[in-house]
Symmetry: D2
Subunit: 294 residues, 4 copies
Amino acid sequence: MTTPASAKPNVSLIGLGLMGRPMGLNLLRAGFPLTVWNRTPERAASLVAAGAHLAASPREAAESARVLLTTVSDPPALESVLYGPQGALAGLARGAIYADSSTVSPALARRISADCAARGVRFLDAPVTGGTWGAEKGELLFLVGGEAATLTEIEPVLAAMGKKWFHLGPNGAGQTIKLAMNMILALQVGALAEALALVTAADIPGEKLVGVLQSSMARAPVLDVKAPMLLKGDYTPSFPLRLMHKDLGLALDLANQLGVALPATAASREIYNHVKGSAKEDLDYAAVMKFWKP
Amino acid sequence: MTTPASAKPNVSLIGLGLMGRPMGLNLLRAGFPLTVWNRTPERAASLVAAGAHLAASPREAAESARVLLTTVSDPPALESVLYGPQGALAGLARGAIYADSSTVSPALARRISADCAARGVRFLDAPVTGGTWGAEKGELLFLVGGEAATLTEIEPVLAAMGKKWFHLGPNGAGQTIKLAMNMILALQVGALAEALALVTAADIPGEKLVGVLQSSMARAPVLDVKAPMLLKGDYTPSFPLRLMHKDLGLALDLANQLGVALPATAASREIYNHVKGSAKEDLDYAAVMKFWKP
Amino acid sequence: MTTPASAKPNVSLIGLGLMGRPMGLNLLRAGFPLTVWNRTPERAASLVAAGAHLAASPREAAESARVLLTTVSDPPALESVLYGPQGALAGLARGAIYADSSTVSPALARRISADCAARGVRFLDAPVTGGTWGAEKGELLFLVGGEAATLTEIEPVLAAMGKKWFHLGPNGAGQTIKLAMNMILALQVGALAEALALVTAADIPGEKLVGVLQSSMARAPVLDVKAPMLLKGDYTPSFPLRLMHKDLGLALDLANQLGVALPATAASREIYNHVKGSAKEDLDYAAVMKFWKP
Amino acid sequence: MTTPASAKPNVSLIGLGLMGRPMGLNLLRAGFPLTVWNRTPERAASLVAAGAHLAASPREAAESARVLLTTVSDPPALESVLYGPQGALAGLARGAIYADSSTVSPALARRISADCAARGVRFLDAPVTGGTWGAEKGELLFLVGGEAATLTEIEPVLAAMGKKWFHLGPNGAGQTIKLAMNMILALQVGALAEALALVTAADIPGEKLVGVLQSSMARAPVLDVKAPMLLKGDYTPSFPLRLMHKDLGLALDLANQLGVALPATAASREIYNHVKGSAKEDLDYAAVMKFWKP
């Protein structure tokens, strides 16, 4: 006997970008009744075709939700969908759960948490790692800050989109770990770029370095994925450089509030910044290589 | 029918530190007649007990060698054993092969190559990666610059100590790739240290970050090995910080000769330098964490 | 015949810290009717004793002003006095002029400008340079963004507090130049600190370096003032490190919005950050030296 | 009664570049019998025309010298004229004084000092600051390491070329202070470049920043000289970028030997390096601006 679909809670999803759309499709596949909203409604087409209901505003999306999810590009976008006109926060019902999978500052996560608590809503910061590939395969990792009991309650929802979730501490802890993880990824790819710049300037093909790398202690899945992009100069965005640059900024903001010096992250952020400043199109963060090979 | 030991060429090994001793033992195990020399002869005891002949000088060690190997700690040490009084270079016979597994500048490798060529000796720069663990297990990687035919000729010798060798280009290419690899390792471990400094300052246990890391795209064998050391503050040297610091300096020297800016490597080198300046004992390079947690 | 005091416009001043108090005293000395407000009203005592009227709220201070001045410590403090409960913005009369001498982001200056324009109020961003010494002597420099005609109109007010004003462009330009100036000051003092760290580690007294410096092309008034502090380790705050650290953050935020890499500023900010993180008291930014001599 | 020229000691000068030639002319004007040598003898023409004797080798120049001066571009050039074939060191007579005004490492200064002492020659490291302008006007500053008595003895010689000399400590101290001074100059000009990059990206003319700078605490003679170059993009070399880059490298080498982290200097060096790597001609170090405005 299977659980009837009607037993599954209503889920609403705000933000239908590279991450949000595949997450929505996986929720539909898992049988969750789904309401969606996006600033540009055209992006909702594939989800509506697959059975999602399109809300007219963030607030309307929130009103029908037992579980609200958001996944937007940056803090201003999140503030806008939550606190702007027809914002989602005012629509959330007492007893609902709201999980934000955007990457924002821990401070904003804590502010949202407080505003939710004042309305009887339980909040989790739940940024994800795994990229568009992970979103499509339903293999995201959720990095969760908030009450453990709340996390337990929405595990069936997360299980539709991801393979694993980590309870990391109180609200803000999910975002803090997410920023720390992205620092590591940015520095790994940045290190490969510096190393490739050095060896190619010394007239050694970059492929030689990558070959050694793949047999070494330094091998990392992110380098397996990005190394061919750096070698070819093909920077089709998977995780856009402008978002990695934003996340490095959030990490440095946090570190500077806490009085923790991050010299290598700061140096790396300026390189990403230099590339962002000169790039005309949207590029993957592997395009950090363009600092040396414009 | 087994190959008689006498068919194996005489090998001499200069430099019996953390790397040289296990390399020598593996050569003996593989049946190579072995002559050794070390600045402090006490370090040769285990090898002599296992059948090695102890030479009285680098020059004497070189004179008996069909294949000479050196593995010393830095460029001045190498210049001393090669060019100093009773130096090895003057002892090498026409037709011998000399492979240096120290990590030095590509410029020094090319200078040695030219001096060897003038004496009818073939030279390979052949630094290794894999650490003391790789040296003990006979699983080193050799990063080789020089003539491919010379490499082919000494493959049986390398096979006694390592599992793989890469022909990377003319003399100097092995050292260049080695420096590039160590930059990547130093920045990976440095990135983990910055990330741990950030999350712990935010009152999240470092173990939480490492747990996420191990399920992520950022996972790397070097981080699997070093993360527990950073968490515990146990910096028993496997690859000493002073050597990593030296290699970052060699990489930056090369980059500054070539006009290639390496901002993140430069930032990271100063952190390693800060720790080196305050450390009283010999520590692993994982001790970069002491910049934040002295 | 002298101009009667009554001919001078009513001025209100919000923010009575190290800069605001001497600025207020100079306004009173010049004969301007002055209303003041400060978050901690005790700080107003000397000004009230000298003839200032103490308002009960920012709004009340603004209501009586023909010219409103603010000089608070950072962007959140400014947002609070302008937009918070009983905030100043709502009190400003149509036709009034508002000049902000705090150091905040150009973006905030432009937002305030737009909000003022909507109320028929003319706004200037007018941060100052010259420190507490300049404030006391009435020798501040005002770095002004906004309409030139508005600047002309309040020149008599500025002349009471400073010796010079620069019209630098539209709103935001004053703040942009201020951030750029503070970057230069922070890097000059930071450079002296690095140089002193180097020579003293080499067993040369820092005084020797400062002696040469004072005869050289590198001599700068800021170094004349700060060098003795660095040599003595006396960091009594004139311009507090936490404010310089904040301004470096604002400069880097602006640069990262504009896509302009600032590698040396970024490196320097992390050093100031490291000191800020470990300092227990309020110190001058000359305390950047504590990175090397805690 | 004037002192007869014959009473003045024979001086020899090796290295006739942008600094050496005007120094030589000033020595001749002051009446010192002068012997000169330069790798490219054509450069000696103006000095020979003014009465100098042209030696055939560094050694020959040294042989006739009561006081030997050298001023060459970098450590390898100095090692070559001292230790190469027909090198100067072998020519120096017991009792002579040798003062080196090149900028090299303190370690090289100490090595030369020891080699001189072994031959009964007194050595001073005496690098100069003041640039070509100072050399021409006879207003150089000499930064001297070595015995105070030796300095006293050659004061009449230095007085012909400079206006001031500082006794800074034992051999090496002059070079250490010189490196520290150049760090400060490089960071001052680099700071101005970052500030100009920021304000111009914000659509404010760089002249506005320079105008404020000149009324401020940050004013410095070096910025008065370099600011117009940065604004115009005119980088006619006075002090070449390749030499400033070399000196930053020597400073960082020293700091890394001493375990003193120099994060801002390291960041700045990489910017100078980036410009050096892409520059086709010889440029002043003010060309650091080309990192932002190629």
